[in-house]
């Protein structure tokens, strides 16, 4: 299961998708921006989702082949894990 920790805020700022942490638990200096695909994945991981279901969701939304979708999800999940964003 991929699931974000509590406390992240996602907002559109001047056309950019910005994510910043809040509260006492997160590293408050970890501020990032997301592209369109990143936002799609982020919003689903915020709710909590199995990695295989996320690949399925990505395939349904975008015209990509399965290998590409799997790689994209795995890469994004690894980045979030590295930053300590996941539960």
């Amino acid at each position: 299961m991929l699931k974000l920790k509590e406390g992240f805020i996602l907002r559109e700022v001047a056309g950019e998708t910005v994510v910043i942490p809040s509260g006492d638990e997160l590293d408050l200096n970890m501020m990032i921006t997301l592209n369109e695909t990143g936002r799609f994945l982020w919003e689903r991981i915020a709710q909590g989702i199995e990695e295989t279901d996320l690949v399925t969701a990505l395939l349904a939304e975008y015209e990509v082949d399965e290998a590409t979708a799997k790689a994209a999800v795995a890469r994004f999940a690894a980045q979030l894990r590295d930053k300590g964003f996941l539960i």
Binding site: I9, R11, V13, E16, I20, L28, T33
Partner: protein, 236 residues
């Protein structure tokens, strides 16, 4: 000791001591009207975080943090920058400490003489009032306490970077958003951070943002002013 002040157009009650009250003197107001913001002394709660600072310096940081946090409730926030005023418009230069914000605005003073003054050398308050963005002097204005108690319409904000030559260009996109966000006060509670993001969204849409690469020669002020004095709003 607590006193009443007018800061960034708001009635503020400050309970404090030492340097905080000293720097706040130009902001004292007449009556004890019901305050918009109350800043309570809290250095005792946070001084363990700053073992290398004196009690009054800790208090100065903590009181500024408390004021700027509450400012978010009044469509305002703090941008870590040096703010110079020329002919009634404010120009802000933001960057990490040590980049040369104050050095650059000192060049503006030299360039424009009596037409120019420093509004706040370190932590101006920005507020959106009736659709217009203003920069304000505040008591929290850096180690040399350079501030003027007034609000001035904002002409533009430049993210400053050291370079060999002087050049300036409009700055947008994710790097611009993150560079401004990094220099804004960011209270840790979610409700304040959401408000900050909403204000930044408005600010970046309504106020020209620039990337200034500059050296410390007089030409830097000339190049920056030429571009930034072009107009109040984007697209004009």
């Amino acid at each position: 000791m607590s006193f009443y002040y007018k800061i960034a157009g708001l009635n503020v009650k400050i309970e404090s001591f030492g340097r905080t009250l000293e720097q706040a003197k130009p902001y004292l107001s007449e009556g004890d009207v019901s305050p918009d913001i109350v800043v309570r002394s809290k250095y005792e709660k946070v001084r363990d975080n700053y073992p290398y600072l004196s009690d009054e310096d800790v208090e100065y940081l903590a009181s500024g943090g408390a004021f700027y946090r509450e400012l978010l409730k009044f469509d305002g926030f703090m941008l870590h920058s040096s703010a110079v005023v020329v002919d009634g418009l404010a120009y802000l230069f933001t960057a990490n400490s040590g980049t040369g914000k104050s050095t650059h605005t000192a060049l503006w003073l030299k360039q424009f003489g009596e037409h120019a003054y420093i509004l706040n050398d370190d932590k101006p308050a920005l507020r959106r009032i009736d659709g217009i963005w203003y920069a304000f002097g505040t008591p929290w204005s850096g180690k040399y306490d350079i501030s003027v108690n007034t609000g001035v319409p904002l002409a533009g904000i430049a993210v400053l970077e050291r370079d060999v030559n002087n050049q300036i260009e409009p700055y947008s996109g994710k790097d611009a958003v993150l560079d401004i966000l990094r220099q804004a006060n960011r209270p840790k509670a979610m409700e304040y951070r959401i408000k900050l993001m909403e204000l930044l969204d408005q600010l970046i849409r309504e106020v020209p943002i620039w990337k200034l690469r500059c050296n410390m020669e007089q030409e830097a002020a000339f190049v920056a002013y030429q571009a930034m004095s072009g107009g109040l709003k984007k697209g004009e």
